[in-house]
């Protein structure tokens, strides 16, 4: 076992040098039509479990991304809005500082990383998230024999008692950076797509590195339409939403 002296000598991972990436996602609420392709795409990519009927009755469904549907107005002037809600990867994440075992922390690339095998399941982070986007494995996720062939080998399958949430498809980011490093080039904009951004038919979800000023994400974030949810809570989320168009267009 390393002595205390050795561990102090540790050259800790120096953040400043490496954070030329700051991943962020922009969701254009004008384009989202609530079709749910992203929900299933995320589930297929990240081995998210289905919990069955009676657990869903207890509001324990595990989708990392949910489409929130709000209704406004009375008949016949009814307006329905869709709001895809996933982990916002806040810069000042209220969930990170309360975890007693560093199971979730903010990595130098602007992601709120949830380390599944470090989590002991106190669920304090789930309580502290104003967006309620953290999901807990109440039971062991059941992938019966033939179905487990579909599991994605890059993502671990979580045991009961572990908190999980949208990881902005860390494994795809890591693969994108690896292939870029193999081919000896920088990561271009649009090179890396999380599962939801890749499969969104209307192109509502865009992903990219907001530090590089030519990226689509940067232009959208500074397009004046960009808002972040619960801005007054000061969490500075990395996921921003573009306001939908004004709906009282006609009349």
């Amino acid at each position: 076992m390393r002595t205390l002296k050795e561990s102090i000598k540790v050259k800790s991972f120096n953040y400043k040098k490496h954070n030329d990436y700051s991943w962020s996602m922009i969701i254009d609420l004008d384009r989202c039509n609530g079709c749910g392709a992203c929900v299933i795409g995320c589930q297929a990519e990240n081995n998210v479990a289905t919990v069955g009927e009676e657990e869903v009755g207890k509001k324990r469904n595990m989708h990392w991304l949910r489409i929130e549907r709000y209704i406004e107005g009375e008949y016949p002037h009814v307006k329905v809005r869709f709001l895809p809600m996933m982990c916002q990867h806040c810069a000042q994440a209220p969930c990170e500082s309360v975890c007693p075992v560093y199971a979730t922390y903010h990595n130098p690339e602007g992601l709120n990383v949830q380390v599944y095998n470090r989590c002991i399941g106190t669920r304090f982070c789930g309580n502290n998230c104003p967006y309620s986007v953290r999901y807990f494995n109440w039971f062991d996720s059941s992938f019966p024999e033939p179905v487990n062939n579909q599991l994605n080998p890059d993502v671990s399958v979580r045991e009961r008692g572990v908190m999980e949430k949208c990881s902005l498809c860390m494994q795809r980011i890591r693969r994108g950076k690896d292939t870029a490093k193999d081919e000896g080039r920088e990561v271009q904009d649009g090179d890396i797509q999380p599962a939801c951004a890749q499969t969104c038919p209307t192109g509502a979800i865009t992903f990219g590195n907001i530090n590089d000023h030519e990226s689509k994400v940067y232009k959208m974030a500074h397009s004046g339409r960009a808002i972040s949810l619960f801005e007054e809570k000061g969490t500075h989320p990395a996921v921003k939403y573009l306001k939908g168009g004004t709906n009282d267009v006609i009349g």
Binding site: F13, Y105, N107, P108, V115, Y116, S156, V157, S167, Q171
Partner: protein, 105 residues
């Protein structure tokens, strides 16, 4: 997670090189009988760890550093315990990323 090349690769040469060695015969039976070979994993990482040989080879880390002096062994045995400390120590010495998501996604 690494994998084992398919049996037809072995057969390509061992059809005639040391074809009588008992182990080689076992491989040939499997190939001819169309039965896939069930190798027993000697080096196995827990399921919550994602290991990528490519990055280590790119940094030309010798196989012996982790797998031990394989060239001297005729039956490969596990020399060092693949614990987190083992990997972290090496990562810290060589300025490799020690970020949690490097190995735990």
């Amino acid at each position: 997670m690494a994998s084992i090349p398919s049996a037809d690769r072995c057969v390509y040469c061992h059809d005639y090189i040391k074809a009588d060695a008992p182990e080689i015969v076992k491989v040939m039976d499997h190939y001819n009988g169309d039965k896939p070979i069930e190798w027993v994993k000697v080096f196995d990482l827990p399921d919550h760890v994602w290991f990528n040989h490519k990055r280590h080879i790119a940094k030309d880390v010798p196989c012996q550093k982790c797998h031990g002096p394989v060239e001297t062994m005729d039956v490969v045995s596990r020399t060092n315990e693949f614990s987190m400390g083992f990997c972290l120590a090496c990562h810290q010495e060589n300025e490799a990323p020690t970020d949690c998501w490097t190995c735990h996604t």
